[in-house]
Subunit: 337 residues, 2 copies
């Protein structure tokens, strides 16, 4: 049985390309006592991974050149010599971009295949859903009747942010990069307004028009000039959750532009950066509430799925050209059991 | 009895000059039922006033051209037809830059002349002291053993911030613009380290060296490149209170430079702008605690006092060239009673 792995062959300078990745092939190793053999079913590609491809200190350690890329993976236990994980179980964990993985079981979370589609655990019930939940509810603290703006609105995090904000009784405005995405946000997910930043000539005016009572909460996935437009419409005591700054992930030098500090001062604004792991102690409660909302039909969920292990680099690169609507992932194999 | 007033004769473009102010002279009006005649004793000049001289919407309304500048003033009641304010009482309030003021009494706070020197109510027991208190304790939330950095450290707010942080058991580093100021902060006020940003060649290195365990709380009075140097040393979960952005008050277009958002994201930093009036409901408690600390000798306080009503514009302009150590004010007259 052959086993393909994707390694980081070189660090990207600016926007990543296929050249930064290399496919290697080995035999599948045999497992020893305490270990399991996993088969990857779904592999997640996420914007934050770009940060780990650079050799800079960040909130997670950089990937090593010559080593596999790691990320969220749903996998099936094919063989087990670990009493805690039965053959046929499905787990989610931080795993290499690899078809078959020998693993000691530590840090793998078993998932219930009957609760929701398996892939949901890489999205709405996984890292992106939890990210939306904590950033919006803990930092944004939206109140009924307030206006919430989310950038990167059609992505894995943004779609959940907007829907939770609607559940909380807010006016919700999404910023995204195509008319199809805007239509999806407004017609399928119930957003009040959408702004296509790629075709809108004056985005400041568009934000002001979409938010006649100003902006109370801004959930920022992108940064840069899109954020600047939202800053102009902030209300006194508004809150900004900084979740992503994809505008700058491919920068080779520190980002420059409008200084936000004078704006924060003028309007007594709170701005907070975060990553989902800041809230690990509350994951259980949050996942339960998300699951309930999903089962009650209060949350819609959409995935962009590419098929085949070979598609992983392309799926990842597409994140930076705004290709995906909803959570981007790659289906690598069918479940056996 | 002649009565001099300083009016805003034109809006400053960039740094204010004497030409933006005009002295007018009138007779002192007579008071009617319910009114008092006030004589200004001490007039406060503060950096935030620069903002009000521009014709832009901000947290307080702009001054009107042709009308008096308003600000914090300690005044004596010379005559009274208001039963709540006796002749001889001393009050603090938001009043015009004027020698004698006819006033209906609303919004004037009587002060106890035995509690502390009268002028202290424009400084450590007034707006700057309360600003330091709330920004540091409510936003910064310093914990024992943490490192607190304050910029504009030798000013009316910065000197109080640093001392309260020391009371809370923190390592305190002040950034200011002269060796005299640094010496004062370290030798008189008990700061652990000071950085003279005007003579330090590499301020990033200086901050890193002064904060070997990184920065947990940054109280920012200045903004700009000084702040950028502090941003490089921020710890995970650090807090930044944005109190002033004097670097940009004289800007004629929105400030640009390093974007702080990616840094806030990487380190899960909280940044919050504020003005003291965000905390009005808690002024009483805070003023009491500050008074206690002052009376117990736990807080030192220094003023820069210019003498004479005519010196007000110069005292104000000096704020922007870094002239003052401690609270800048102008003594206008002696108390009569």
């Amino acid at each position: 049985m052959k086993n393909k792995t994707i390694i980081l062959s070189s660090r990207p300078k600016g926007t990543p390309t296929q050249d930064n990745f290399e496919f290697t092939q080995t035999d599948v190793a045999t497992i020893e006592e305490g270990e399991v053999l996993l088969k990857a079913l779904y592999i997640s590609v996420d914007p934050y991974m770009r940060g780990r491809m650079s050799d800079v200190k960040s909130y997670v350690a950089p990937y090593e050149v010559g080593k596999p890329i790691m990320g969220g993976v749903v996998a099936e236990v094919l063989e087990s010599k670990n009493e805690k994980l039965q053959k046929g179980a499905v787990v989610v964990g931080n795993l290499p971009w690899q078809q078959y993985v020998v693993h000691n079981g530590k840090g793998l979370n078993p998932i219930d295949p009957d609760m929701a589609p398996l892939s949901y655990h890489l999205g709405i019930l996984g890292m992106p859903g939890l990210t939306a939940y904590f950033g919006l509810l803990h930092i944004g603290q939206p109140k009924e009747g307030e206006t919430v703006v989310v950038s990167g609105a059609a992505g894995a995090v943004g779609t959940v942010v907007g829907q939770i904000a609607k559940l909380k009784g807010c006016r919700v405005v999404g910023i995204a990069g195509s008319d199809d995405k805007i239509e999806y946000l407004v017609n399928e997910l119930g957003f009040d307004e959408g702004i296509n930043y790629k075709t809108t000539v004056n985005i400041n005016e568009a934000v002001a028009k979409a938010c006649p009572d100003g902006v109370d909460v801004y959930f920022d996935n992108v940064g840069g000039e899109i954020s600047d437009a939202v800053y102009h419409a902030l209300n006194k005591f508004s809150r900004i959750a900084i979740c992503g700054q994809i505008a700058f992930y491919n920068n080779t030098s520190p980002a420059t532009g409008l200084r936000v500090e004078p704006i924060l001062l003028k309007k007594s604004v709170l701005m907070k950066g975060f990553i989902v792991n800041d809230y690990t102690s509350e994951f259980g409660h949050a996942a339960k509430e998300l699951t309930t909302w999903l089962q009650e039909g209060k949350l819609q969920y959409q995935e962009s799925v590419k098929e085949g292990f070979e598609q992983i680099p392309e799926a990842f690169l597409g994140l930076f050209s705004g290709e995906n609507t909803g959570k981007q992932l790659v289906k690598v194999a069918e479940r056996e059991v």
